[in-house]
């Protein structure tokens, strides 16, 4: 410890020295520090060494010392000053308090000379011990943590102050004094006021947040769902979520935050996990964030307005979802176990027509069309009798293809704890779900779907020193699954398409039935015998970060650097093939079936594979500042980051170029006494996608808040209103993710050439490939800009009820669109881009929560509501001939349709009406409105109706009621103001559009199977206007009755009992003698009930009824902590 060297570093001023006594008496009011030290020097003869700068900014002090020892006197003088001292011989060095080796020396010295060991116990207000609380000696580096019983030991001088800190409790300071045994009781934080919320690049006290930020109660996310996005639906205001498929592994909900702001580019929110952008990790598979076990999540924040998202600059326009995983706290290992076994079935499978009804209705349709009936009464009777199911089959393909229940299992084990300098959270989880196909293991393989997920997570925090924190997150995930040889959508389509009377499933000799020449398919055979594919998708996500407190530069300052790499791959091995099929043509003289081979299969399954991989690198450095000056509180953030993403399996040069972003962000916050808040946020971000000089954009926002309930004049009301706060924000955020949908390509500023059409030349037609413009380079392209406004109010009543309501408005400009007003005579082949699009989006979202406890009964009631609507302002649309057909000014997703006036009632009416589709209209066919009055119903008569398949209203509500150890919770979720076109146009596959819905459509060998609902039809003898189906005929999408029209536009609103849980917690009394801290059993259900006006299929599937519906799951679970 070469003190001299250090001393020489300072500019010294020596005070004249003399030898005097060691006792000091000093009484001064408002004297400068320098003067006070001079007086001590005069009394003691000790020299003081200090840098002039050290004394700058130190206010005059008042001292009252009576005959104290020199060192005590110095201490008292420096108390509450940002200064400390060091005595060496008869020299006293005065220096700023700082974390350095000098501190250590002081600590060492003072501990040698004066410290005593203090023992203490930390409890809550009821006297229960609090483990894991941090106890520090104020102004020193000395720290310890309480053990399981709340006990701690620490060395401290009696003049020092102990600071006890634990998340969730009010930090407590206690003067040591003469005590050596200290009992410290801590009060729980008033959550509504002191909750800390994760925001963009940091945390903020909830009460002082000025932006629109919602958090999700993690207790509500404990579901047996595989996919996180799926569990989010209805849990918080502002999320617009629809689950379009329940197929395990592909069951992610598509969701947006506050609706859809742009009509071409990416609309999905930015996903941040532990500070790192991860929305595109495994994005082709819905994003790896969907695979995080909710048990591992500490918090989820939803950033909705410009204030909250401006720091993300050109990535923030669609909102941001921040997921923070759990971290360890010091203490003995805490072990949590969760394990669940479940049974899943499909929420709703459509009812199909049986063979007999199918044939009768098919005959009716033929007769209606003026044809002869096809099936004789004899055949119908033979089918109805069921005596020869091989020649006269009658198969319910959906029931033969899907089973009622499939098992699932999932489990999570996590351990957290650590010492005071190293803390850990490690977890392992496993998820297993079987598919609902009615298949078995045959030919040495089982084709049934099986989804398995392994997820290991390690979050480490290491205090390298009291001011340096090193953190490391390592997350290794593996999805390993098996799927049948053809896709779920194909299986569903086949099950719809195949008529019940086509062929049986199998013949008695075990051979499989099927048509000639691929003229249709046997759905069960296709799943059972088409092979399988195994897929595995490993993901590694890592973060390494260092956080350095820089209080010695200026208190409240800290810096942090974070580096992250993520890598994932998708690997599929497919074994697919076809088997022999047979079709019976009759019976021979002996009554044996005559089987004709209709397909020659392959002896062995074929093999193919595919794989893809991506890596992401992210680097961030930031400096933050947070300091209180009395009632003034300042905060600041300056951040720099860069990111690059590379797709290994890009497939073309343009996509193989790394996707790069770079940005800076600034945040300045100020609040006065938690009462008046002002915040400025800005992002300056750049993207490689634009031409040099146009790459960077600046995205600022301002926001302010006022906590009225903290005003003195509000005091009288504060017993009722524990919180009343209003806040508002205005700002601009961007979206550079314009390359996601359709044919929008990267680098649109560059003219790009790619392979065009080809020609054969010469005697053998040698092919010569052509090249053509694929992108027509256009200058001055830039990102989308979203101007967002938000006005929010937060109300807390009686400490029990809290309500938050936000009004918001967004105007998205510069939407990069492919030009659509260019005439065909221009003859450009490639896409031509322009920043021409504009869209408005606005709405309201609100959250409500009520908690209460009455004796042994606890109650929590919660709900949320989102209303969102949008309008396309500009989309480079040519002026339509009829103004009502202009898409500009309409809602996104609003489709043109005809207005159905009802069904024709007479041939006279048809003769008098404008001509429609097809020449053979008859009573019972849909009559459409001739909107433009030109005497013909054609596509000029389609109108917009203001309805869309994206809901404008979403809500969720639930409650939890507990009595002693038992609790019951129910959660309902719903959407409203949503429609879809149920004319079958969304049911597509290899064959006919509209299979199952459009009567007897079909392209292969057979007319389509039909929904049982076809019975509900108009007939000559029962000419009902309210029939579901108009007059039957052999139809397709071009037929009069299946044009998109208000007839088929169906209300897609629904309310679901999304979750129900009944749980029992074993009372602590029973567990006291065991090592187990708590045990909780529960029975939970998912998607138990659905209430909807639409009855044919699960309404969440929307227009595509032939889809894998969401799962209905019952799970039995156990949670324990050790």
């Amino acid at each position: 410890m070469r003190l001299t060297t250090i001393v020489l570093l300072f500019t010294l001023m020596q005070v004249s020295a003399a030898t005097f006594g060691q006792r000091i008496t000093l009484n001064e009011q408002r004297v400068s520090l320098k003067r006070a030290l001079e007086k001590i020097h005069n009394q003691s003869g000790y020299n003081f060494l200090f840098d002039r700068n050290v004394l700058k900014g130190i206010n005059p002090i008042s001292i009252s010392i009576e005959n104290e020892e020199l060192e005590t006197a110095v201490k008292k003088i420096l108390h509450n000053l940002p200064l400390t001292y060091l005595i060496d011989g008869n020299t006293i060095l005065i220096k700023p308090k700082e974390s350095s080796i000098l501190d250590k020396a002081i600590d060492k010295l003072s501990s040698i000379f004066s410290d005593q060991e203090i023992r203490g116990k930390v409890t809550d207000l009821k006297g229960n011990p609090i483990p894991g609380a941090t106890v520090t000696v104020k102004g020193t580096k000395k720290a310890t943590a309480t053990d399981v019983d709340g006990n701690f030991k620490i060395k401290a001088d009696k003049n020092e102050i102990l600071v006890v800190h634990l998340m969730g409790f009010v930090t407590k300071e206690v003067l040591v004094g003469d005590q050596t045994e200290i009992m410290i009781s801590m009060a729980e934080e008033d959550k509504t006021l002191d909750d800390v919320v994760v925001v963009g690049y940091g945390k903020q006290k909830k009460v002082t947040i000025t932006g629109a930020v919602s958090t999700i109660n993690m207790a509500d996310m404990q579901t047996p769902n595989r996919s996180l996005s799926n569990s989010l639906a209805g849990k918080v205001a502002g999320i617009i979520s629809m689950q379009r498929s329940g197929e395990p592994g592909y069951d992610n909900a598509s969701f947006t935050i506050r609706g859809i702001g742009t009509f071409t580019g990416n609309t999905e929110p930015l996903i941040i996990i532990d500070g790192v952008q991860r929305d595109d990790v495994n994005s082709s598979f819905g994003g790896s964030y969907n695979n995080i076990d909710p048990e591992d999540i500490q918090s989820i924040s939803l950033l909705k307005d410009a204030s909250a998202t401006a720091v993300y600059g050109a990535r923030g326009a669609n909102g941001v979802l921040i997921i923070t995983t759990k971290r360890g706290t010091a203490g003995k290992p805490q072990i949590s176990i969760k394990t669940e076994a479940s049974m899943s079935g499909l929420t709703k499978t459509p009812k199909m027509l049986d063979g007999v009804s199918w044939m009768r209705l098919y005959n009716e349709a033929n007769i209606n069309d003026g044809n002869q009936p096809v099936y004789s009464e004899e055949i119908i009777q033979k089918t109805a009798s069921g005596l020869d199911p091989y020649l006269y089959p009658n198969v319910n393909w959906i029931k033969s293809t899907y089973k009622d229940w499939a098992p699932g299992f999932n489990s999570n084990l996590n351990v957290s704890g650590g010492s005071q300098s190293v803390r850990y959270y490690v977890s392992a989880s496993f998820y297993n779900q079987d598919g609902s196909y009615k298949v078995t293991k045959q030919n040495d393989y089982s084709p049934n779907l099986n989804f398995k997920r392994y997820d290991f997570r390690t979050n480490l925090d290491i205090d390298l020193s009291a001011t340096t924190l090193l953190s490391m997150n390592l997350d290794a995930m593996l999805v390993s699954s098996r799927y049948p040889g053809l896709s779920a959508s194909k299986i569903w389509y086949n099950a719809y398409l195949t008529p019940p009377i086509a062929f049986p499933i199998q013949y008695p000799d075990g051979s499989w039935a099927g048509p000639f020449n691929n003229g249709g398919s046997n759905p069960l055979n296709e799943i059972q015998n088409s092979g399988y594919s195994t897929e595995f998708r490993p993901t590694i996500q890592s973060i390494f970060s260092i956080n350095q407190k820089l209080d010695k530069l200026t208190p409240g300052l800290s810096a942090m650097a974070r580096f992250s790499f993520d890598s994932y791959s998708e690997n599929d091995n497919r074994r697919t093939g076809r088997n022999n099929l047979f079709l019976a043509s009759g019976r021979d003289a002996d009554g044996n079936l005559i089987l004709n081979q209709s397909r020659v299969g392959e002896q062995f399954l074929g093999y193919s594979q595919s794989s893809a991989a991506e890596k992401k690198m992210y680097l961030e450095t930031n400096v933050t500042y947070d300091r209180r000056f009395g009632s003034h509180h300042f905060g600041g953030l300056f951040l720099y980051n860069m990111r690059s993403r590379v797709v290994s399996s890009a497939g073309d040069v343009i996509s193989s170029i790394p996707y790069k972003n770079q940005g800076m962000a600034v945040r300045v916050t100020y609040d006065y006494a938690d009462r008046y808040m002002l915040e400025f946020d800005a992002g300056y971000t750049g993207s490689e996608n634009f031409e040099p000089g146009k790459r960077f954009g600046f995205f600022p926002s301002v926001s302010a808040g006022w906590v009225i309930s903290k005003e003195p004049f509000f005091k009288n009301l504060s017993a009722t209103f524990n919180l009343l706060k209003i806040r508002g924000s205005h700002g601009v955020v961007g979206n550079d993710q314009i390359g996601f949908s359709g044919n929008v390509k990267r680098f649109p500023y560059l003219g790009q050439y790619g392979s065009g059409r080809s020609i054969g030349l010469g005697f053998n037609g040698t092919i010569f490939n052509g090249i053509t413009e694929t992108v027509f380079g256009v200058e001055n392209l830039t990102w989308e800009k979203a101007t967002k406004d938000n006005l929010g109010i937060e109300i807390g009543l009686l400490n029990k009820l809290s309500i938050t309501v936000d009004l918001y408005k967004e105007r998205r400009k510069n939407i990069l669109i492919a030009r659509s007003s260019l005439s065909g005579i221009l003859g450009v082949t490639g896409t031509v881009f322009a920043n021409l699009g504009e869209m408005n989006n606005q709405g309201v979202d609100a959250n409500m929560e009520y908690t209460d406890k009455m004796g042994n009964v606890s109650l929590r009631l919660y709900g949320n509501f989102t209303y969102n609507n949008n309008k396309i302002v500009e989309r480079d649309e040519p002026k339509q001939q009829y103004a009502y057909q202009q898409a500009t000014g309409q809602k996104l997703g609003d489709n043109l349709m005809y207005i159905a006036e009802g069904l024709f009632t007479s041939t006279e009416q048809i003769a008098k009406s404008p001509s429609q589709f097809g020449a053979n209209l008859k009573p019972g066919d849909i009559k459409y409105t001739d909107v433009n009055g030109d005497g013909v119903v054609n596509s000029f008569d389609k109108v917009y109706t203001g309805k869309s398949d994206v809901p404008t209203i979403l809500y969720g509500a639930g409650f939890t009621v507990g009595y002693k150890g038992v609790d019951l919770s129910l959660f309902f979720q719903g959407i409203a103001d949503v429609t879809f076109m149920a004319n079958g146009s969304a049911v597509t596959g290899d064959g006919a559009q509209g299979a199952g819905i459009v009567p007897f459509t079909g392209m292969g060998q057979y007319p389509s199977g039909m929904l049982a609902n076809l019975e509900d039809r108009w007939t000559v003898n029962n000419a009902r206007q309210d029939a579901y189906y108009p007059r039957l005929g052999i139809s397709n999408q071009n037929s009069n009755n299946y044009q998109p029209s208000t007839w088929w536009s169906k209300d897609g609103s629904f309310v679901r009992l999304k979750q129900a849980t009944l749980g029992y917690r074993i009372s602590d009394a029973l567990l006291t003698k065991t090592a187990i801290k708590s045990v909780y059993f529960y029975l939970s259900g998912q998607n138990l009930l659905t209430f909807s006006k639409f009855k044919l299929w699960d309404p969440e599937l929307g227009a595509n009824g032939a889809g894998y519906p969401p799962l209905r799951t019952f799970a039995l679970g156990l949670k324990a902590t050790l």
Partner: protein, 609 residues
């Protein structure tokens, strides 16, 4: 304990190391990519640009597959079926090739404006001239196709710019468009050889191709559709400019005849016979069949030397090897002559519609004993172009392949096609919603192929051949000079190659009789050029497509259950009304799609749409 300092320094320097190279972080742009400068500095790229223009030349299209009376498509949902059902408008404008041809037109301008930039060292001036001539030919071809489909269109003489006001481009008149195509053909012909010397150039247009297009166009302009058609009097631009010629001009037939004669006068083309293909004895069947299967022949005026013959063969062939999609109608079957050169409605023709044939035909490719009499002793082209019930499958080389087409009881190694109800290609197996006619195409189908195994062999797709020019000449000449002996001579060239006696020997009354001769010429055209897209356009330009007989489609009685009788089931051969197609006279022209009308407000729609 220096760690703190170390970390401060580390963090600080990390911060700096991030910022410093950061300036270049986004300097990411596709290096080494094709730009327009590179494109025109390199021969291979410039040639590829030209090949892409060729890509806009279309192959099998609506006229080939069932928009006229010669064919039908079995799948009701397909576009041609929708069109013949009348489900057709400017909004669902099927086969709307407008964009396709205008992209080709734009590319041709860009090619001609830039190809001279390629250094002489890489691409000689001579080749540049040739390529520009090809590009001009292609532009002319695209305009010609647009004229056939839509009537007069917007004539462009250079590439438009992105920021042009497209609303100021009205349609040009029919004559302006026609003159433009002729001008382009003339310009191209100057720099193209009469015929290509090197086989590696087969597939490029020649001088002969240019003149042949002029012949087609001249016949088109002379025909009633555009020669003073009163129905087009209303076809006017917004400023009142009439787009169609208002009065009939008989001289246009002479121009049409001269234009066809100009091709003949090149003396570079001739009708293919099997002798050209190594045959030792002239055989009309192999001549008319192999004309399409040889890699190249002197009858070809324009071809596309890459096309999806697999898809065509699959769709044209019967089940179970094929998929039975392209069906010939009874109407075209009835148009084929007997092998004595007489039409079947001629009492002298010896045509019988009932009963089974007692004997096989004289030639190996003729009918077989036991086949229906309707198919007996027909002209060679019938056997080359029509797959009928009981005729052995063609694209099946081995006995095993042939047997694949036969039900258990019919296996005899010949692969007789079973179009009857319960047969392997019958309605039951192929689906009762599918309306097959009982016939498939055999034209352009190769015996070397094996469609069951999806094996096909190379052949060019012939877009324009010399036989058509001969028929053009005969037709035009007959209109303005019916007594000209060249009519009979020219028509007989086609008839003789098909194995038929001269028209003057079978129907002497037609000689010099304009109306009668016209009927035989058009019938010859119907048979000779069947399934080649010509029938539809002949009926269009002759204003005959709307005639009820051409809209009423007959088939065999394919949907009646034969009750296991198979080939013996005589009810199968009952002529059955299949369709009375929806027709409105507006259909003589395609509608200009609403999409295009919305984007160029100066365009006027075709009458009636």
């Amino acid at each position: 304990m220096k760690s703190i300092h170390t970390f401060i320094i580390a963090a600080g320097s990390l911060f700096l190391t991030c910022i410093l190279p950061a300036c270049k972080h986004l300097d990411e742009k596709p290096d080494n990519l094709l730009t327009s400068e590179i494109l025109w500095s390199n021969r291979a790229n410039a040639e590829s640009y030209l090949y892409n223009i060729y890509g806009a030349v279309l192959e099998i299209d609506y006229p080939h597959i069932g928009i006229s009376d010669e064919a039908s498509v079995s799948i009701p949902g397909t576009n041609v079926r929708q069109m013949v059902a009348g489900n057709w408008s400017s909004v669902n404008a099927y086969y709307d090739h407008w964009d396709n041809y205008y992209t080709g037109i734009r590319s041709s301008f860009i090619f001609e404006a830039n190809v001279d930039k390629v250094p002489e060292s890489q691409l000689s001036t001579a080749l540049k001239t040739q390529y520009k001539a090809e590009s001009k030919f292609l532009r002319g071809w695209f305009y010609w196709q647009l004229i056939k489909q839509y009537g007069p269109v917007v004539k462009l003489t250079s590439a438009l710019a992105l920021n042009d006001d497209f609303n100021k481009y009205p349609r040009n008149t029919f004559d302006q468009c026609k003159d433009y195509v002729n001008q382009l053909m003339d310009e191209a012909a100057v720099n193209l050889p009469v015929n290509w010397a090197s086989s590696s150039d087969y597939g490029r247009p020649s001088k002969g191709t240019c003149l042949a297009v002029k012949s087609q166009l001249a016949l088109w302009a002379a025909s009633p559709l555009w020669n003073g058609n009163p129905a087009f009097a209303s076809l006017k631009n917004q400023d009142g400019t009439a787009l169609a010629p208002s009065s009939y001009d008989a001289n246009k037939w002479k121009m049409a005849a001269d234009a066809a004669k100009a091709v003949t006068n090149l003396n570079a083309f001739q009708l293919f016979t099997n002798l050209d293909n190594g045959g030792s004895r002239f055989d009309p069947y192999f001549s008319v069949r192999d004309l399409f299967l040889a890699n190249w022949n002197r009858e070809i005026l324009f071809s596309r030397n890459s096309w999806n013959y697999w898809g065509y063969t699959k769709a044209s062939s019967p089940n179970p090897g094929g998929i039975n999609v392209y069906n010939a109608t009874q109407n075209i079957v009835d148009a084929f002559c007997m092998n004595n050169g007489r039409t079947i409605d001629d009492p002298l023709s010896q045509y019988k519609e009932t009963g089974f044939a007692d004997n096989s035909g004289a030639e190996s490719w003729g009918h077989k004993k036991g086949q229906w009499n309707m198919y007996a002793n027909r002209e060679p082209r019938f056997y080359a172009y029509i797959q009928y019930n009981g005729r052995p499958v063609l694209p099946a080389p081995t006995v095993d392949d042939k047997n694949y087409y036969s039900s258990a009881g019919n296996i005899d190694g010949t692969g007789r096609i079973e179009f009857y109800y319960s047969g392997k290609a019958g309605a039951k197996a192929t689906g009762i919603t599918n309306n097959i006619t009982g016939y498939n195409f055999l034209k352009n189908i190769s015996p070397a192929d094996n469609i069951r195994q999806d094996v096909t062999n190379y052949r060019p797709f012939i877009i324009l051949r010399y036989a058509e020019i001969l028929l053009n000449y005969a037709e035009a000449l007959n209109e303005y000079d019916p007594s000209n002996p060249e009519i009979v001579q020219t028509l007989n060239l086609v008839r003789n190659r098909a194995g038929l006696p001269g028209i003057e020997t079978v129907y002497p009354a037609a000689v010099g009789n304009k109306e009668l001769m016209r009927k035989y010429i058009l019938r010859e055209r119907q048979v000779e050029l069947c399934f080649e897209g010509d029938r539809y356009y002949t009926l269009i330009r002759r204003l005959l497509l709307g005639a009820p007989e051409n809209q009423t489609i007959y088939t065999m009685n394919v949907n009646e259950d034969d009750g296991g009788q198979g080939f013996a089931f005589t009810s199968f051969y009952k002529r059955t009304l299949f369709q009375k197609r929806a027709w409105e006279n507006k259909m003589y022209l395609f509608p200009i799609s609403q999409y295009q009308l919305d984007r160029d407000r100066a365009l006027v729609q075709n009458p009636g749409w």
